[in-house]
Structure formats: C-alpha cells, structure tokens
C-alpha cells in the first residue's frame, strides 16, 4: 500500500536507522500505550459482569463475556444500525456539499466571496447551548409539513447534521483545493470540459485524501453526538449508539456499567475499521492522482 516513489531508497540500517526511523517506533509505542491505557479500563469493565466502571484498579481480574452476550437482549444492535445509517449518510452529504462549496470558493471569483467564507466559519462558533430547545421547535414545525423530516426521524436528524456541513470542513477542503494546480482545470477547460465535468471528474479525484479526512471527521462527530440526537430521536428503538450509551451512563444509581463498557468497546470498532479503510485514500492518494493527471 505504502509503495510510493520514496520507498525506492536503499534501506537504512544501524545508527542511521535509529536516528531517522527507529525513534519513530519508540514514539509510536509510547503514544499507543497512552492511547490504550484508559481504554483498558473500559475493556476490563466490559469483562466483569457486575462491576463498576472505575471502582477497581485490578484490571482483568474477571473474564466473562456475559456483558457481550447480554447486549443481544438490548437494543444495542438496532442502535448500531441506526448510527451507521445516520453517520454514513451525514458523512457523504457533508463531503459532497462541503466539496462543492470548497470548489466554488477555490475556483470562482465572485463578490462577497471572502465575506461568506469568513461568515461560514464564524457561524459555527455560535454556542449551541440552547440548540436543543430551538431544534425541537424547528423539527416540530417542519414535521407538520414533512413528517419524514420531523421529530423522531432519522432523516430529520441527518438534515440537522447537514446544517453543519459547510463551515470548518469547507475550510479544510478549500485549503486543499487551492493546492491542486489550476493548470489542470485550465487545460480541461480548453479541452471543452464544463465546470461540472471538471469538478466531478478531475478535482474530486485529486482531492481524495481530504475528502476521506472530512468524511471520517464528520462520521466521527455524528457518531459521538448525543445532545441533538436525543432531542430528535425520542424512542429507544430509534436511538443512535451515542444516545443509547449516554442514557445508560446517565443512570446515577444503577448504571449498567458492564453493558455500557461492552457496548463502548464494540461501538469503537466501526470507527477504527473506517479509518483503516480510508487510510489508503488519505495517505498517498495525491501521488496516485497526480500520476494520472
């Protein structure tokens, strides 16, 4: 996968290897330890049938898969499907709308361009403290006209998430679009390609790494979002994973920490897999593109 032109060097060895490559492994291992340590707690709790989340420092003193098998009798699987559907659609929508906007900002010159770019970013900075009240009222009235976009609807929630599609993501893509040489689209234009053809067939392919990054970012942020989701999705069977986990954890007295931990471990898997899958586009995508372009 990582076979790029850079790897055609002769392999380095010995001290030079340590100075140039080896230390990177040390850092990698240390960082992974730091990343994983708190998660060990969660995994340990998930293997303990009637334990607490942070009550014990003796990790892995019990090993039982009860919590995992008990997840089957909860709505966990449904939540998982809901989350995957909602987050996938949100991520695709965000990537598409964000890329389109970034293309417009990067390739066209129009009055108010700078102002609107700034405005997009500033709008995202509004504290969403009362968002839950406002979103509830909004979806309540939208629901009277388009029931599919109203309360308790996955589509409604996706629409709310897509409201944030422009903004930081647009900026990230905009910056990346600007690094794609304009000569490419100039040449295509001279060949008679329309702006839409340039966008869909040339630019999008060249910016694949950033599309993958933005897709992942918006997937993850939708995946972990529960403040708006719990307002929109009012029924247990419609919950997303984040809402379901939040509800389990919000029980102050009898929180099912074992189930919670098991669910948290399982729910982290899609994100890791998705990153695994997208990594090939994120890393090295541009090289592939520029060779063809």
């Amino acid at each position: 996968m990582a076979t790029t032109s850079l790897e055609q060097h002769a392999p380095v060895t010995g001290l030079r290897w340590w100075r140039e490559v080896g230390w990177r492994h040390v850092i990698g291992i240390v960082m992974i330890a730091i990343c994983v340590l708190p998660l060990l707690y969660v995994i340990s709790a998930s293997l303990n049938p009637n334990g607490t989340l942070t009550g014990s420092n003796k990790l892995f003193r019990t090993f039982s898969l009860t919590n995992y098998s008990e997840l089957a009798s909860t709505d966990f699987a449904k939540w998982g499907v809901n989350s995957l559907v909602i987050c996938t659609v949100t991520a695709l929508g965000t990537v598409f709308m964000g890329a389109a906007a970034a293309y417009a900002f990067s390739r066209f010159r129009f009055s108010g361009r700078r102002a609107s770019l700034t405005a997009l970013l500033l709008i995202q900075m509004f504290p969403q403290m009362l968002a839950f009240v406002a979103i509830f009222l909004l979806l309540l009235s939208v629901g009277t006209v388009f029931p599919a976009l109203g309360l308790n609807s996955q589509l409604g929630l996706i629409a709310v998430y897509l409201g944030g599609a422009l903004g930081v993501n647009t900026f990230l893509m905009y910056g990346f679009f600007n690094t794609v040489p304009r000569e490419l689209d100039e040449a295509a234009k001279i060949d008679g390609a329309s702006h839409a053809q340039i966008f869909f067939t040339i630019i999008l392919r060249l910016v694949a790494p950033i599309l993958a990054v933005v897709g992942l970012l918006s997937f993850v942020s939708a995946y972990g979002e529960f403040v708006v989701a719990k307002v929109v999705l009012q029924r247990v069977e419609h919950y997303t994973l984040a809402v379901g986990l939040y509800v389990w954890a919000s029980d102050e007295r009898n929180a099912p920490w074992g189930l919670f931990a098991a669910a948290a471990v399982l729910s982290a898997i899609p994100v890791v897999l998705l990153f695994q899958f997208l990594q090939r586009y994120i890393v090295g995508g541009l090289f592939a593109g520029s060779v063809k372009g």
Partner: protein, 414 residues
C-alpha cells in the same frame, strides 16, 4: 348552548383527524407525531407515558396488564433520567409532551411552578396510602401526583465482618475500626459532595434543610443554619480528619469497596442492595444511628405518576393514574418488579423481605425530600461546602457553613 358549539366542532375535528390518520399516514393533516399509530385511537385510545431508564422495567408489566384490562394502550417512551424533567417542562407547552410522566415527588414544585402538571383528585383513596407518600406529591394545597413506591437510605451492614447493632454513629465508627477493614464505614461523597447521603447525620444534629409545617409540607425558610448547623459542620470536619469520610470515595468506589468487603458498613439505598445480594453477601439493613443526639432522618423519596396539564387524554390518563395505579394488585406488582416499599398501606403491610423491611424501618423517621422549587438552589452550595469541610479546604467549618447559608439565602431570593 353557544359554548358547546366550538367544543363539538373541535371534537368533530379531532375525530376526523384521527380517521384521517388511520386512513393514510402521510396526509398533511397528520399533525401528531408520525410514529404514533393512531389506528386504535378511535376505539380505545393510546396514552403516551414518559418514564426514565430506572423505572421503565417496573412500569412495563403494569402497562401490559392495563392494556389487557382496559384496551387502552400505554405507549412507554423511555427518557434519560438526566433529561426527563427538563424535557417535560420544555415540551408540554408545545403540546408534544406525554400524557403521563412517571417520576419522583420532588419534581412537583418545579412542575407546578411551570404549570405543566394537572391536579389529580384521589378522593377517598388518599386514605389508603401512607400519609407522607401522598403529601409528598401535594403542593400549595393541591394533589399533583399519585405515589407508588417509597425509598430511602439506611445503614447496611456486612454480617460477615460485624454482628453488633450500633446505638450511635460513633459506635458504628468504633466497630468499623475494630473490624480492621480498610474503611470503618462508607458514605459516598465525590468531588462535588453528597448532601443526600449525609443528611441523616445532619438531621441528628437538629438541622433540617427547610422548616416543616405541621402537615409535613415545607416552608421556604431555611433551617440548616444556626448552632445546630455549625455543630454538624464541626462534626464533619472531625470525620474528615479521622479519615472516616473521604471526598475521593464516589458512588462507584463506594459500591465496589463494600462489595469487596473493605468496610463493614455502608450508608446506601435499595438500589445497591440488589447487587450486594447478587454477589452473595450476608447483609442487614439498619436505621442510621444518631450522631448528634437527635433522631437521624434520611430523606424519603416517593415514586409516582403525574398527568400533563396539556394532555388530550385526560380521562384515560386519570383512569390509569388515579384508578389503576392505586389498586392493591398493581402496587403489589410494582413491588414485585421494582423492589421498593409500596406507597399503598395494604401492599406495604405484605412485604416480608428483611432488607426492604429494614429500609422501611429506617425511613419511618424520615421526611420527604422537599419538593419546593427553592430546594434546587440548595444542593450545589450544600454539597460543595460539605466536601470542602471534609477535605480540609475549609479550615473553619462554622464560618464555611454560615457563608453557605447566606449564599443559599441570596440564591433563593434570586
């Protein structure tokens, strides 16, 4: 006569709407939430009931039996316990809230202040309930909820470690120390303090949070200050210095430590004893002994049902809340699944589980947690000050306590 014309028109409109709903689910006239199937509404009816995750298991069988008996469908909507109150207060005015909400009595004040609950009339049934349970749902002379279960904290003893029954709280500590375990007694605290679990000790110094009237209802006059309060504050400091209380022990830690046999005593409620029993522990539930000489009075929490002020199904809601939840069979069933002392006297008389009997006895001296809205201004200051006294950040407990009382007073004034 004239008055009833709009009424009839409304009724007709509602009937048409319902018919339209059942006919096609996608017409613009379907103003109600799309997920609610209104197909059976024309014949019997559907009641939307909000219940949080702690109580839904208990209510589910009752909902099923209610439907079997009356044909009215109870649509249970699970809400997160952290949000159910806020959402109810915010959504009822929009007409979107539930018909009935299951909750705790101390929500009453907030609900009434916002006009989101309808009064209920228990009539002669009021006498069949534990008086304090019914009164817990009263506010300003009106009844707003129907109780079904009572819970409170008590002293739970691990019989494997200690067998004597203590007379005072100092005896508890002495026995605990003699037992040689890591902790003599556990009262959960956490960074933000836990005034709820310390309240029995506080009342044993004669410092209840608000003054109580003869009928048991609270006035908004603070009573936790003065000499009694500062004496309790000094006692807290002593417990902190002796390492009996530790802010580092939060609820999670407390439960685990008692499960691990690290303490012979824990002050906790019935929500934890289930786990203790499940782990095979031999436990006894005792009243919390006095620390300051007077009776230790834990807060009593009462579970019950409220009816929304804006319900479109007031008759059905009353049928469920006032006429069904109040029956002996239902209170028995709620006891069987929920494991809390029933609010109905006849059902309570039947319980024989020694643990629940113990909790019931420990709660006999207690008073309902104040349901007045002013209570909301108390918790934050209260816990913070207590934990600072215990942890030693507040070197002068009496001064810290007096400042706390002043701050609460100023917060209540607004």
């Amino acid at each position: 006569m004239r008055r009833s014309i709009p009424l009839v028109a409304t009724a007709l409109g509602v009937a048409l709407t319902l018919a339209a709903c059942s006919g096609s689910s996608n017409t613009p006239a379907a103003v109600t939430t799309p997920s609610e199937t209104a197909t059976t509404a024309a014949l019997t009816g559907t009641l939307t009931v909000w219940v949080d995750e702690t109580r839904i298991k208990d209510i589910k069988p009752v909902a099923d039996s209610f439907q079997a008996k009356t044909g009215i469908v109870l649509d249970l909507v699970q809400k997160a316990s952290g949000d159910i109150r806020t959402d109810f207060v915010a959504q009822v005015p929009t007409g979107q809230g539930p018909d009935v909400i299951i909750g705790a009595h101390d929500w009453t004040g907030e609900f009434v202040k916002n006009g989101v609950v309808a009064p209920v009339e228990l009539g002669d049934k009021a006498g069949t309930f534990s008086k304090s349970a019914v009164n817990a749902f009263a506010y300003g002379g009106k009844q707003y909820g129907v109780p079904y279960a009572i819970e409170n904290i008590a002293l739970v003893r691990n019989n494997k470690l200690v067998k004597d029954t203590p007379k005072t709280f100092d005896e508890v500590i002495a026995q605990g120390k003699a037992a040689g375990t890591q902790f003599p007694v556990i009262i959960q605290q956490g960074d933000k303090g836990d005034a709820y679990h310390l309240y029995p000790l506080q009342t044993s110094f004669g410092a209840p949070v608000f003054k109580q009237q003869a009928d048991g209802s609270y006035t908004n006059e603070l009573a936790l200050g003065a000499d009694a309060g500062t004496k309790f504050a000094a006692y807290l400091q002593k417990l902190g210095q002796d390492k009996v209380l530790d802010p580092a022990i939060d609820g999670d830690k407390a439960k685990q430590a008692f499960l691990d046999g690290q303490s012979p005593y824990i002050v906790t409620g019935p929500w934890n004893t289930t786990a203790f029993k499940a782990a095979g522990m031999d436990i006894t539930v005792l009243p919390i002994p006095s620390a300051g000489g007077q009776e230790a009075k834990p807060f009593v929490g009462v579970q019950g049902a409220f009816i929304s002020a804006k319900t479109k199904n007031a008759v059905l809601a009353n049928e469920f809340v006032v006429n069904y939840l109040t029956t002996e069979a239902v209170q028995d069933a709620l006891y069987a699944t929920g494991g809390r002392v029933p609010a109905l006297k006849a059902s309570a008389a039947k319980i024989n589980d020694p643990i629940l009997v113990g909790f019931n006895a420990a709660g006999a001296t207690g008073a309902p947690m104040p349901s007045i809205p002013e209570m909301g201004s108390v918790w934050g200051f209260w816990g913070t000050t207590e934990v600072q006294i215990i942890g030693g950040q507040a070197a002068d407990p009496a001064a810290a306590w007096t400042t706390m009382v002043d701050n609460i007073k100023s917060a209540i004034k607004g």
